[in-house]
Symmetry: C2
Subunit: 201 residues, 2 copies
């Protein structure tokens, strides 16, 4: 069986969200699985000399905000520009890894719920209460998850995932690896599709 | 008649070259013309806080170099990574505007010849002799062009074009404007096509 496609993203990344809405269906068409790996751009950017695409004003950030919305329309994905953006996402990411260790199908429903809470319903996904409410709606016991979020083990788990991503060469979101070949950005979906169809090109 | 599509690019921009190999045929399918506007990223980047995509080393520049080659294969465009990259392109750009004022069809043949000299044949397009040789191969009188390249008028012309591009919001290459809508990057070709087909989306 083929290795899973690796998909690194930050929960507050618009292009990460767009990739997240497309990658599973694309992988399924080629009988491939996807390993979702939330990371923190707040850790990745300082380590690689990157910066948030909308930081600092000027023509490029203005264009990028416009491109978020247009690219969502292009891909047919619902998108409402969040009023607070970007946000820290460590709580959302830690909850993902905790859920994933128990039920990976549930974790997949959770990532979509978090993305849509932020990019469709404009909820503050940086707040632990929002993360707990989203998980509770999926049937997770709120108190158990709240206790887990406070443990040093779960914090260390996310730190290890960020370190592993940096070691893998990840420098932004979305970052997708197909059989060793890296693809950066939701706009690389057509190249990923061709790579999957032809085993490289 | 519709306004022409505006296409801003630097002669040493790989993604600008890829766009340049595609934009005319795409525009023709929709009975549109393209206004080619070479600019200097060496002027644009300092003005907008940008930087060359391969500067500084690290994982993102390494990825970008790989993506240049892969994106060229994806689009079916011949591409050999230039051994000197990036290069200053003021001579190539000034010659373009001089030629364009006399014969716009010739200027179009010239841009393709310069792009291919750099990205296929690895010639040093920063050197005036290379620019003159490329133009001479297209039937241009070498001494007349050499004299024009030395004039303050032609230098001022390129400076005015850079200033106009900055005023237009241009922050990188390729930057394409279709009926007021800006598109940055060769990877926006599918969005440009949809925009032309549907008059927006």
């Amino acid at each position: 069986m083929s290795e899973p496609i690796e998909f690194y993203f930050d929960f507050s990344s618009p292009y990460g969200y767009l990739m997240g809405e497309k990658i599973d269906a694309l992988a399924e068409r080629f009988q491939r699985r996807v390993k979702w790996r939330p990371i923190l751009l707040g850790v990745i950017f300082p380590a690689v000399g990157g910066r948030p695409p909308v930081e600092g004003g000027g023509p490029k950030p203005r264009y990028t905000v416009r491109d978020f919305t247009r690219s969502a329309r292009f891909l047919g994905v619902p998108y409402n520009p969040p009023s607070r953006f970007p946000l820290p996402t460590q709580n959302a990411a830690r909850a993902y890894y905790w859920l994933h260790d128990q039920d990976c199908a549930l974790a997949r429903r959770y990532v979509h719920a978090v993305f849509r809470a932020f990019f469709v319903d404009d909820r503050d996904i940086s707040a632990p209460e929002t993360v707990l409410a989203i998980a509770a709606d999926l049937g997770v016991d709120r108190a158990t998850l709240a206790a887990a979020l406070a443990t040093p083990e779960l914090k260390a788990r996310l730190k290890a995932e960020n370190d592993a991503a940096l070691a893998r060469g990840v420098f932004g979101s979305p970052y997708v690896v197909v059989d060793g070949e890296p693809f950066f950005g939701a706009d690389r979906l057509p190249q990923i599709e061709k790579w999957l169809a032809e085993g490289g090109f």
